[in-house]
Symmetry: C2
Subunit: 208 residues, 2 copies
Amino acid sequence: MAFHYPNGTPYSNHEAITHKKQGKKAPTQFGKRGMDFEEEINQSNAYYLNHNTAVIHKKPTPVQIVKVDYPRRSAAVIKEAYFRQASTTDYNGVYNGYYLDFEAKETKNKTSFPFKNFHQHQIKHIQNCLVQKGICFILIWFSSLNRCFFFSGEDLVSYWLEQEKTGRKSLPLSLIEELGIEIKLGIAPRIPYLKAVEQYISTRSIQS
Amino acid sequence: MAFHYPNGTPYSNHEAITHKKQGKKAPTQFGKRGMDFEEEINQSNAYYLNHNTAVIHKKPTPVQIVKVDYPRRSAAVIKEAYFRQASTTDYNGVYNGYYLDFEAKETKNKTSFPFKNFHQHQIKHIQNCLVQKGICFILIWFSSLNRCFFFSGEDLVSYWLEQEKTGRKSLPLSLIEELGIEIKLGIAPRIPYLKAVEQYISTRSIQS
């Protein structure tokens, strides 16, 4: 399979997403503060895959393709396309018989995680997956604090619904510390989030 | 969320994929024979989602984005991008606590299903998911016969590995009839493949 990139260098899809956000609204300065959170998650997933621990992939950015050229002797070129809104979360896969589904989000806030990081359809997707007994969660990276948390889908949905009534605009860090599971960064994988998933599963089975 | 399409009409992503295939090799005349198999699967998934039966989505076509324009007052336009090879199967999701992972393929062959419909990396992905106790399978549509089959990931992998030794280039229909589960088309959903999944799960639990 030959893929033709200009200058032979692959373009970072993640950068394109960042550009997209910047094009749509005022540039939000998430990330790029020593650690690219999404890239670290992707590398952790690669580690888990290579070690037969789990099969988790990031979904491709959804794109609406309008015009494609087919030059002779080279790869098809998409000449016009538009970003579409995703209808699901970014990551899903399978771990030891469990369906995992999650979003990875970062903030430079120091005291809370803003709800504006989520769309209604993502919350709806998490609700749907919970009905099907999937393991749903978010991974939150506080870039200014260098702290990473697992926060369950059940808790996210519950506070999201409360927020719709109370108008509260964020999840306080104190609440995330209380209900979530802190993930200590490692070497390989850098973000060992499956430990938190295991802890969540074991706590849940004690409760039920 | 406003998405700007030329003439206001959304472009079918599926068509773009067809074009892509045609651009890469001689036009294969799969599909368009009374039923668009992929579209029928997508509609069946929408039915399952709306009825809280399962959450299964087709993954977006992976695209390597090279150049993006940001015109004022309108959506970002991707001006140069290339199709990438997918590293997974097309469909996955969760059904009653089970992780489901599958490919939907069609052929106009009448007596066998050619292995050339698969890539090595898809087989590898299915193997990885099976290790994690996922439910993996392919849905095969024989367009000339109007017959649809569920064929398990275990059987696919097993015959794929055999094929690498023997050079056999396809799965005979007789084998698919014997090992697979035929899916009778319905109205809603049009392709009730979860019935076959249920049958597969119950057979499997008797065996183990």
